[in-house]
Every structure is written in C-alpha cells, then in structure tokens.
Symmetry: C2
C-alpha cells in the first residue's frame, strides 16, 4: 500500500478524494465547486475525447460550437426543461467592472444587461433556436452535430469529477424527419457509449432506459449506461435522449417533407462528461493508487533506468532508449524517465501511483544478462524477461492487462448483482453488500418514490432484454408487475 | 464569380461577412456578439487545433484545464491587467432562477453570490493563483501548460471570427526559474506560431515585438506575428508574452533555487484564437468564395460523379469509389458526393464556394477514355488527366497549390510593403494602397499616439532583425531614431 494513503476499506470516500489529487488528476480551485484538471488527468481526458470523437465521426456526426450563454427567455420555452435546470444556473447580469477609489474593482451598475444570460447547463434551447434557421425541408435532415464544451450547473455539494459546478463534456444534438429515425439514433449513441466504456475504459455497463422520474428534463425516453463502482454504488456513465418533438415545438422548428406536408422535427441529445474520469478511477484503482486500462493510458509503458555510478548512467540510458524505440515501432506509447534528480525507488512508487500499466526496470546486471524487469500494475507482479522480442512481449501483455481489468470488474459486478423477490431481501442486500438489485416493479412513480425515500435506492435502469419482461409481483407494493428493473444506490 | 455574391472590390467588408455565412463557416447567434461556428467552419478550426496541439506537445507542453470563472478580487491584484480587461467583462452575480406566477422565469434575488465571478477574458490570474500551490522548488520548474478554452470579452462592435464576445482559443501559461529561460520560451512560441501560419495556413507573417502602447496588459514584452490582408489592413494573428515576475509577485509565487535562495517565478503566456479563421479567409479567398490551403482543408479533394441516366449512376459511382480508395491510400482525405438529390452543376458551385482545393469530375465518357477532369480551386483551371497514376498526380498538385497560395500571398505582401522616409510619403501610401509601411520611429509613446490619432495607423511590430536597427530620423517628429518599425491600419 502507498504510504500515508487511505485504503478503500478504511474510508472509500476519503480514498477517492486523496487519489484524485495525489495522482495529479485534478484539484479544487479557488472558485467554489470548480475544479482544475491537472496535466496528467487532462491527458487521460484527451484519450477519452480522441476515442469518442472517432466513434462519433464514424457514425456520421460533425462537431460545431454554440454560444456559452443562453438568453433567460429561452429557458422558459420548454416547461419541463426549465423545471429541471432553473435551480442550478449561473446568471450573468452585468458586462463591465469599474475601479473603486481605494484601488479595488466593483461591478459597474450602469452596465446591466437588458435580459440576463444563463451560462449553459446544457444547450438544447440555444441549439434548437439555431436549428430553426437551418431546417426548411427534408433535404436539410438529418442534422448530426456534436459539441465539445464546458457547462455549468450550480451544484451545492460537489466532488472532483463526480459532481462539479463546471464540467467538460460533449453534447450531441440531432434533428430527424421521422420518429423512428430519431429513436434509432438515440439507441445507436447508447450503444456507442457502451462499446466505449467496455472496450476502452474496461468498465462493464448495463444498458437500458430510465423511469419517468429519472428522465432528462424534456425527454420522452432516456437511454443510459450504468456501471457499478467498487463500493457497491452505481454510477450513471452516459445518457442518450429521445426528445420527441418537444424542442421543435418550443422553438417552432418545422420541415417540409417529401410529400410536401409540414411537420415538426424529431430530436435527440446525448452526452458524456468528465464524470467518466470518476467512473474510471472507482472501477479499477486500488490501495496503491490509480490503475489505468492500457487502451486509455497516456503512456502505456514507463522505462526506469537503474544505476549507481555515473558511468552506469549512460550505459543504461542508451539501452533504455533502444528499448523505447523498439516499443514505439509497435505503436506503443512509452515514457522514459531518465531524470537523475530522482531515485529509481521514488520513480517506481510514482508511476505505480499514477497507474501506468507496465513498468520496465533496467540496470547494468540486466544488460549483462540480456534481460529486463517487467512489472504490471494490475496484478502488481513482476518478472524478468528476455530483452529479445520485448516489444512483442509487452504488446501481448498490454492486451492481457486490458482484458484482465475488464474481467475483474465484470466479476465484481456479477458478484454484486442480486435478484430479490421480497422487500426483506431487498433491504437486506441493500444494507449489506449493496450493488445492483434486480426486482419486479409495478411501474408506478409513486412506488419508485417511496422506495427512494425509505432506502435511497433508485431505479438505475429498465433493462432492454426480453428476458426481464416477465410477469411477477412488485417487490415493494405487491402489485402486478411486467418487468424486472435494476435498483441501486448511486453517485 | 459566384451568383448574388458581393465582390471584394465592390465592398470588402460585405464580401467577408457574406462569405463567412455562405461558406458555412459561422453565423451570428441569438446572443449579442456570440457566434455559432457551423460544422464546416468548425472542421477547419479542428485542423488548426490538431496541428497546433502537435507543435505544442513536440515542444514539451501538456494541456490542462482551469475554471471558467475568476473571482473578482483576483483581477485587482495585477494593476495593469485589470486596467486592460475590466471594461469588457461578463459578470456572474446570481446562481439560481425561479418561476414567476405567469409561467416565466426570473433571477432569484436570494441566490446572490457573495463575491461576483468574472467569466474569464484570459486566465493569467486564476492560473497563477493555482501555480502558487504547484511550485515550491526549482525541481517543480519549468511548468509548461496549455489550455484550449472559450473566453469572453464584452466587445461593443463585433464581427464573425475577427472580434466576438465569446471566442475559442488556446492559452499557454509557463513558469520558469530564470528570466532567460522565460524569454526563450516566449520567443520559441512566436516562432511556433509563425511556422504554423506560413506552412499550414500559407499565410506569410512578420515576426517582432510590440511597442509599449500595444503590449498585453501585464506583459514586459509582447512578441507577435502580423499578417497582411488583401485589403491592405494588417491582422495580429498570434501573440506571445514575456510576463516577467509580474504575476508571480501579484500572486506570491516563489521558489527555492538550487542555491537555496528564494525568488519569484518568471512567466510567459501565449495564444491564438478563432480569429485565425478570419485571417485565413481574408488572406486567400476570392470573389468565388473560400479558398483553403490543402494542409488545412477538412477534405482536400471532392469527387463529383457526372451522369444522366440511372444506369450510368452505378457505373460512375463505382469508378469514383475506386479513385477515392486510391487517393486515401496515399493519405489524402477525400469526400465523394454521390447524393442523387443534387445536380453536378450545383455541387461544382458548392465546393468551389467552400474552397475545396481539388475537384475531380467523372462521367461515362471519362471512364471510356480512362481520364478524369481535375479542377484546382486556387487558379480556377481544369484539365483532363489520365486515371492511371491519379493519386501521385493529385499529391503533387496539392503540394503545388499549397506553395502557390503562399507565394501569391507573399507577393501581395511584398507589393504592399513600402519604405518611407517622409511624413508626406507616409500619408500618401496610407491613404493610397495601404499595407505595411516601414519607417523610422523615435521610440516615444507620444509620437505613436499622435500618428494613431491622425491616421488610425499603429505600430504593428518592431522587427527583430538587425537590419532594421539603423540610425535615422523619425518619420513624424524628425527626432533621432535607431529603429525602423512597421506601421499599418489594422483589424
């Protein structure tokens, strides 16, 4: 275990907070609820962005950029939307400061905006107001646009990555001629997110839809992916909304179809955010710090030269550069830490804490023997490996680590997914190991609300597969139910 | 000339505004002064970002992210900085809206911030407040960080890309142990920008420093690159600032050196913005619309199938796909527009207006003859080319177009750069063709200010080369001068 570092068992929440800061992922800023994403953390976010962006473009989407500010009146146009976001908005009211006689500055009261501007918490309103001018006929459809942006939701209780006043995200906003096409788009993007989560973050996810209570403000249907964290709590990792014609009606966006008839346009929106950074940490990391899946690591391998005397330094560094070049020729990103201001032991601890998947140690004796010391972060094991064919060895090792992390997380989820049929069982599991609970639900918001009040558990999702569409009795009310849903406490 | 499109000669300013919108680059939004960057425009910005980001990383920088909001009190800490930015700040004063009885919404006056937050116009203050905790010893230096972000400056007169209330940019913020190292960094980044402008945007630039009047608020020295637009006005395309210890002193950022002594940290900051989009347009575009240098074009080649009958459609599209694959195998990005909802003539006009460097037309007769029609956007010429070896042909053609655009712009700049030695000549050139004017200046802010008041021309830069450090007489005051500087009217 890393020195002076809280273990998960001791205090899971404290472990998380310490890890984020100590692994150089992020820290709190001087602005309440806003974080600074540090270079190492940001490079992981860049990995996520690059992979997601590739997937968005492969499915026909383009990026664009819409204003940070939204006129206040736009919010009032979609009733349920304003309900969902009005309570957590940063509001710009003035556009100038002025100096005070004592050398300070103050807001210039003469520079007051006629209409206040809201810092976007999400962009449906400003985007649909823009789409009105982009769409006349079916030839202008579909519009498949995504935006990478910062958004602000004035949360009262914040936590690095998981819930911050400002966060980074992407928001896709698409416009379609038919309901069917819009639903297919929303489902497609849920699948894109699930594929990304499983194959890139090595994080198994449930796919499904949200109950009415948990739906996005303004959506007809919200699709989601949900992951299970190591402490038995669920985390919503991405959502994709079928918005029907709600925003088209609110902003009067109509198109002329091939048949010459006018109709409102159908919409979707979908997003993932820097919250994924929190999900990543809580899925794989351990009491020794961060654990990164190779597909996501900014550098997959670190090489640490080991030497005592000055004349050894050049020898091992030359060999290290040679190994680095061999790995890079295979497309493996490598960091060689040849700083002589820090000792090898310090570097070992540093990269272990930062979750680098593979560490290669290399000293004079290794060079004599034609070997390298290869350590893997996921299992914390190391072995002496022949320097010949090291690139092939590391390549297959990285694939093995990626698979192992996913399997380990999947096993954890399976061991912590419990089917229950009585309310006693429900409470027992929830108060015990937690995790996902599969249970019949009568479909009423009232039942859902009561369960939430009594236990803090919510319906995380309604699974899509037919096998969960069975007849039974609601675990709480005893009323007839035609579906099994997934409950959990959540982040 | 494109139909219903203003020519440059007719009205340069109108030409620009129309081009930006009609080429799907950007448009005005419902929020005063804020633009919507449309998908095609954004894809060009993405090309710029990708290339710049590669250059930043190659010179050792990492990306990070700092808060959108800056506490008001931070601004007052660096005196000249607040002077420069206070008059154009968007200010957040409240954090909640509430419903009104009539179904509208209003600002909730009970949710007033204790200290107002400024939407960042630039991030020196919040970043140096953060760096205080990152820097203790010389081992923590240098810090080489860049941020890609949106910023807000409440400009009263805005123009798409050139001057908008919100714009996108990157801002590098570095911290160093010595003055020498910080100056070297600031100069390096000016050179990175110049290299990018010339080899990527095909836009020749002057490099130099700014006079005291034109310096960034808080800088000791501002390095810049300046380009000349087709209408004879200059455009500042990028700046790099040596900030001395100003921000370190304002935010109390000290480090312990190798000698054990404490000193303030030395700083730089540097940035380019979506303004480069405006520079790009005004450097190359013509009365037929946008002209893109191949190195920057989202797709370098467009293939348009030409056919009359349905049975021809499949034939030409199959061949077009084959050609596309051949080009892509050489790493050339290609768009095949095989939509049958639009006619070839419409498509020709569309891609010409959008500045696609090379267009390939392909009909049944071409297939018979084994030829293709290859048109280039820069010269508006076309030729029939053998389909054999088309990829090699296009590859060298793209290189030729890139070079040609640069040479053309360089020629324009050279023809519009005039050395003058008298005030009469100065005014004559300025009122005539405009452009860059090389003239002796006595080094006083007073002279500079008077010239500006009389002519609107400012000192765009003080060139770095020794050949301009000559003795002479100031073109305005007649006082002794030891340098020739570059004057122009500017955007």
């Amino acid at each position: 275990m890393a020195k002076d570092f809280t273990s998960r068992e001791e205090d899971y929440s404290k472990w998380y907070n310490e890890l984020v800061v100590r692994a150089d992922m992020a820290e709190n800023s001087a602005v309440r609820g806003c974080m600074v994403i540090k270079p190492y953390g940001y490079s992981i976010w860049e990995s996520m962005q690059a992979e997601l962006d590739k997937k968005f473009k492969a499915t026909g989407h383009s990026n664009a950029y819409f204003p940070l500010f939204i006129p206040k009146s736009f919010f009032a146009k979609e009733a349920s939307h304003v309900e969902g976001f009005a309570k957590e908005c940063a509001v710009v009211t003035h556009y100038r400061l002025k100096s005070t006689p004592d050398g300070g500055i103050e807001v210039d009261e003469t520079a007051k905006l006629e209409e206040e501007l809201i810092v976007r918490p999400t962009s449906e309103t400003i985007i649909w107001n823009t789409y009105r001018n982009w769409i006349q006929s079916y030839r202008d459809l579909p519009i498949l646009v995504n935006q990478w942006a910062n958004v602000v939701r004035w949360e009262m209780r914040t936590r690095l990555f998981l819930r911050t006043a400002e966060f980074l995200w992407q928001e896709g906003h698409t416009a379609h001629a038919t309901q069917q096409e819009a639903i297919a788009e929303a489902e497609q993007m849920m699948n894109v997110y699930a594929d990304f989560a499983e194959n890139f973050l090595a994080m198994p996810v449930w796919k499904g839809t949200k109950s009415a209570n948990e739906r996005f403000a303004g959506a007809i249907e919200t699709y989601c992916i949900e992951a299970l964290m190591q402490d038995g709590k669920a985390l919503q990792a991405g959502t994709s909304h079928f918005l029907g014609q709600n925003f088209a009606k609110a902003f009067d966006v109509k198109f002329t179809g091939q048949d010459g008839k006018q109709d409102y346009v159908w919409a979707t929106s979908w997003g993932v955010s820097t919250r994924l950074m929190g999900a990543l940490i809580m899925t794989h990391s351990d009491d020794n710090g961060l654990v990164l899946p190779p597909n996501l690591a900014p550098f997959k391998v670190v090489i640490v030269p080991i030497y005592r005397k000055d004349e050894e330094y050049k020898l091992v560094c030359d060999k290290a550069r040679e190994i680095k070049a061999q790995l890079e020729a295979k497309g493996i990103s490598v960091k060689l830490d040849d700083r002589d201001t820090q000792k090898p032991g310090w570097k070992f601890a540093e990269y272990e804490f930062k979750g680098v998947p593979v560490r290669i140690g290399l000293g004079p004796r290794d060079i004599e023997n034609g070997t390298l010391e290869v350590a893997r972060r996921d299992t914390l094991t190391k072995e002496s490996v022949s320097a010949d064919g090291i690139a092939e060895h590391v390549q297959s090792l990285l694939a093995e680590i990626q698979t192992n992390l996913f399997q380990k997380a999947l096993k954890h989820r399976e061991e912590n997914t419990t089917s229950v049929s009585t309310w006693e069982e429900f409470k027992e599991v929830l108060d015990g190991k937690g995790g996902f609970i599969l249970a019949h639900w009568d479909g009423s918001s009232e039942t859902e609300q009561k369960i939430k009040e009594l236990t803090k558990a919510t319906i995380r999702l309604i699974p899509l597969e037919d096998k969960y569409k069975t007849e039974g009795k609601c675990v709480f009310s005893g009323n007839a139910s035609n579906q099994i849903v997934v409950f959990a406490k959540s982040y």
